[in-house]
């Protein structure tokens, strides 16, 4: 499914030094020929998101990205009439409708939803990786490629309870890697557009969220030994409601979701209706690797 907000997202995205996924049409140069893609040669660095949490909103401030290219104060047609947020750096137009729903969810039997998200990381069920190819400098590099995907494996946990940095994983063969060429790193910041999947557990419901036309932003430490960031995208409200309905979870919670969810749609889907809601996650990341024998086999 192609998100209608993509045309709006792309100019923004380019401004943030990222490119659309490979599957999008290649750009053309002045002669009409495909523009030459810079070669992202050299070392690659993989970051594993070892801490993932919902981006919360406090006083209208939340981490996230502007997915629809609109700044909405609410009430009008922009942003499906939903008020956008401002990020802690003062950037307006941040879409993160789920942040408004989260406190209500946490008043229900889904109170542990945030903890479960992190637990799925520790259990190896949610191992999101950002692989930066051709990265010569963690602070500034005008030509890198980025692959965003899921890893597989049981994480090694240190004595401090945290995932150990520098550990190795398998690539998830069932999870296509999104690749973005010609990205760049400025001031340690890497931003790129990507779809992604994320497992979300609400009580007994295990949801594989298909987050479309998302934006990932990652800030790498100068030594490359850590990174932080956030990723934001849109989720189909219909999908959520259908999936939730499949599970035998508390009826009160179902009722709440069925009542509130349709009202949080702030992104337009294929039909032009406001049938998607935005959701943003914050993350911390550590260096990680993929097994050499599997890389060689590929």
């Amino acid at each position: 499914m192609r998100h209608p907000a993509l045309p709006l997202l792309l100019p923004l995205c380019l401004g943030l030094a990222c490119k659309a996924p490979e599957k999008e049409a290649a750009e053309l140069d002045d002669t009409g020929a495909p523009a030459q893609v810079c070669a992202a040669d050299g070392p690659s660095t993989t970051f594993l998101m070892n801490k993932v949490r919902f981006a919360r909103s406090e006083g209208g401030v939340s981490w996230g990205s502007d997915l629809d290219g609109e700044v909405s104060a609410g009430g009008g047609t922009a942003g499906c009439g939903k008020a956008d947020l401002v990020d802690p750096e003062g950037t307006p137009g941040i879409d993160n409708a789920f942040a408004g729903l989260l406190p209500a969810l946490e008043q229900t039997e889904a109170a542990a939803i945030s903890g479960l998200l992190q637990a799925s990381v520790g259990a190896g069920e949610l191992l999101l990786t950002v692989e930066v190819l051709g990265l010569d400098d963690y602070q500034n590099d005008d030509c890198v490629a980025v692959q965003f995907g899921n890893a597989e494996g049981q994480p090694l946990v240190g004595a401090d309870g945290e995932l150990l940095p520098g550990q190795s994983f398998s690539r998830n063969p069932n999870d296509p890697v999104t690749r973005v060429d010609e990205a760049l790193v400025e001031g340690g910041r890497l931003t790129f557009a990507s779809d992604f999947g994320i497992k979300l557990q609400i009580l007994d419901a295990n949801l594989d969220l298909d987050v479309t036309q998302g934006v990932v932003r990652m800030d790498m430490a100068p030594d490359g030994q850590s990174a932080t960031g956030h990723f934001t995208g849109g989720v189909s409200i219909d999908y959520m409601l259908t999936e939730i309905d499949k599970y035998a979870i508390d009826q009160g919670l179902k009722d709440l979701i069925n009542t509130v969810m349709p009202a949080v749609g702030d992104l337009k889907g294929d039909t032009g209706e406001c049938d998607h809601f935005s959701i943003a996650f914050e993350f911390d990341a550590i260096p990680a690797y993929f097994y050499l024998d599997q890389e060689e086999a590929n």
């Binding site: 494996g153 004595a159 945290e162 150990l164 940095p165 520098g166 097994y291």
Partner: protein, 551 residues
């Protein structure tokens, strides 16, 4: 004697590098017969030797287990409680000559023998490994004697006399008659064999008079198999002992080379380096998890395996230059070690080969977690321990123990002294301490970029670590450099020749063996530091094949 002659051993040059250390300095002893012309000089003849007195070695626990496995062809459970092996000058094999067994220790051997005998009789493979006859009844002394005689021949590493076999058979028959169960008699006989001093001790009395008395063929076979396999001789080796041919140079060399090509040589080599590098202590090594997030019960065994796999590959698979052990960028790591080293693991399961990047600052033995973990405190590094290991274990120099009642603690870190280098200033500025600490600490500080379990750290308490220093006048900038400086040290060859010699003979070397050790070190150099050749050379040397006067 087959030996490879490699060009230009630079002994003379290496000898020119002065060393200052307490006690013996093996590098002062090798003969400077190499020439600067680039052409290798002819190897001098084997020097005369006056070996030390015979030693009576108790089987180490590992040897005990290996002997059982090789006799009964199955992996048997041996109770964990045994009186501990003793270490002398860093080697259990030498300590085995000095340990005694208490009355309680005798009981433990008995309990173990009973447990093992039960398992042997309950396992078809183990049972048929020595029982080939069909007993005519519960008290069939002939059949029991034949079976027990076969087991005793293997376990005692020598022929069993008719009288011994008859007595074993009679013992089994008596018990079988009383119990009405042939197996019960057989069990009693096995227990007796396993408690016998002929099994538990390695008897190397030698024969004849004087200060150079040859080992008997069976004694030599046993010494050879424990050196190369850390276990009992096989039938082929016992056959060479039986026909007396093992005393011949060619036969002994051929047997040594055959045994080095056998899979059991891996076990033997592992044990040698387990002892030399004290790796056997890694599985029980405890580290403070609050200080080291990567610490885990699995890390020590992994670190041990890494080092041993590397040595196996270098020595047995490739017959490479042993000095590569100190500078190689190749490592064998599992997931946990790969995470510690911040490199990609080769494979999800087990160990795989990886190449360590130079940017990581880690290479060779001194970049391995085994060394870095062992030579450190539970919650911090120890420049003194690491430096002492290099001096004593790798260069075979002596560092006196600290005087009694001396305060060996170092100050807590503070703003004035954030890194260990500053905190050790006391050791190096106090003449009382400095006499020895100046030998150890400058080397150990070179490894300060690795924490107490071997994880890289550029800073300590937010201060940049300075790993530079010098080793006896040769400067280095960091651990990467230091690995090369140590590898180039001329003490390496005599040191490892001495380790092998002591390990093989089970005792400390004596003055009458100095020239032989220097000759072995010279051969090690000439072979391009082939550890295989060092082992073969040692086996063929008169010091290995003879014992001194009985004392």
């Amino acid at each position: 004697m087959l030996r490879r002659l490699l060009p230009a051993p630079r002994i003379a040059l290496l000898l020119a590098i002065g060393l200052t250390a307490c006690g013996d300095d093996p590098a002062k002893k090798p003969p400077a017969d190499a020439e600067d012309s680039g052409e290798p000089s002819a190897r001098p003849p084997v020097p005369e030797v006056a070996p030390g007195a015979p030693a009576l070695r108790r089987l180490t626990r590992t040897q005990y287990e290996n002997a059982l496995e090789d006799t009964f062809l199955v992996d048997l459970y041996v109770p964990t409680a045994f009186e501990p092996d003793n270490e002398v000058e860093g080697l259990l094999s030498v300590g085995a000559s000095t340990t005694s067994v208490s009355a309680y220790g005798v009981e433990l051997y008995e309990q173990s023998a009973q447990t093992v005998a039960d398992q042997v009789l309950a396992d078809l493979t183990a049972r048929t490994s020595f029982l080939s006859c069909t007993p005519s009844g519960a008290s069939d002394a002939a059949c029991a004697g034949e079976a027990l005689g076969l087991a005793a021949r293997k376990l005692w590493r020598r022929p069993v006399t008719e009288d011994e076999q008859a007595r074993l058979g009679a013992l089994a028959a008596a018990v079988g008659a009383e119990s009405g169960d042939f197996d019960e008699g057989l069990r009693t006989g096995l227990v007796a064999i396993l408690q016998s001093p002929h099994f538990l001790y390695r008897i190397e009395n030698g024969a004849g008079e004087g200060g150079l008395r040859p080992l008997s063929p069976y004694e030599l076979a046993s010494r050879l198999s424990f050196l190369l396999w850390n276990s009992i001789p096989d039938e082929a080796l016992l056959a060479k002992a039986a026909d007396g041919s093992l005393a011949e140079d060619e036969v002994l060399e051929a047997e040594a080379r055959r045994m080095l090509d056998d899979a059991r040589a891996r076990r033997g080599l592992r044990n040698l380096f387990d002892e030399v590098f004290h790796l056997y202590t890694l599985p029980t090594l405890s580290k403070d998890p609050l200080a080291f997030a990567n610490a885990s019960p699995e890390l020590g065994p992994s670190a041990r395996e890494e080092t041993l796999l590397g040595i196996e590959r270098l020595v047995l698979d490739e017959d490479g230059d042993f000095k590569d052990l100190f500078t190689t960028q190749r490592a064998f790591v599992d997931r946990r070690l790969a995470a510690l080293y911040n490199v990609a693991a080769a494979t999800p399961d087990g160990f795989g080969e990886v190449i360590l990047p130079e940017a990581g600052g880690r290479r060779g033995l001194f970049g391995q977690a085994s060394f870095l973990m062992l030579q450190a405190h539970a919650n911090s590094t120890s420049a003194t321990r690491r430096g002492k290991f290099v001096r004593t274990t790798v260069l075979c120099q002596e560092i006196p123990a600290p005087p009694a009642n001396v305060d060996t603690s170092i100050p807590e870190a503070d703003a004035e002294s954030p890194t260990l280098r500053e905190r050790l200033e006391t050791h190096l500025s106090d003449p009382y301490c400095a006499s020895c600490h100046r030998l150890t600490d400058p080397i150990g500080l070179g490894f300060e970029n690795f924490d107490g379990i071997g994880k890289w750290r550029p800073t300590e308490n937010d201060a940049v670590i300075d790993p530079s220093g010098d080793l006896d006048g040769t400067s280095f900038t960091n651990a990467w450099d230091l690995a090369q400086v140590i590898s180039d040290n001329p003490n390496i060859e005599p040191c490892f020749a001495r380790h092998v010699y002591r390990y093989g003979t089970g005792r400390l070397n004596v003055d009458g063996e100095d020239e032989l050790l220097a000759w072995l070190a010279d051969g090690f150099t000439r072979s391009g530091h082939s550890f295989r050749e060092l082992l073969v050379d040692t086996v063929l040397s008169p010091g290995f094949r003879n014992v001194g006067e009985m004392q």
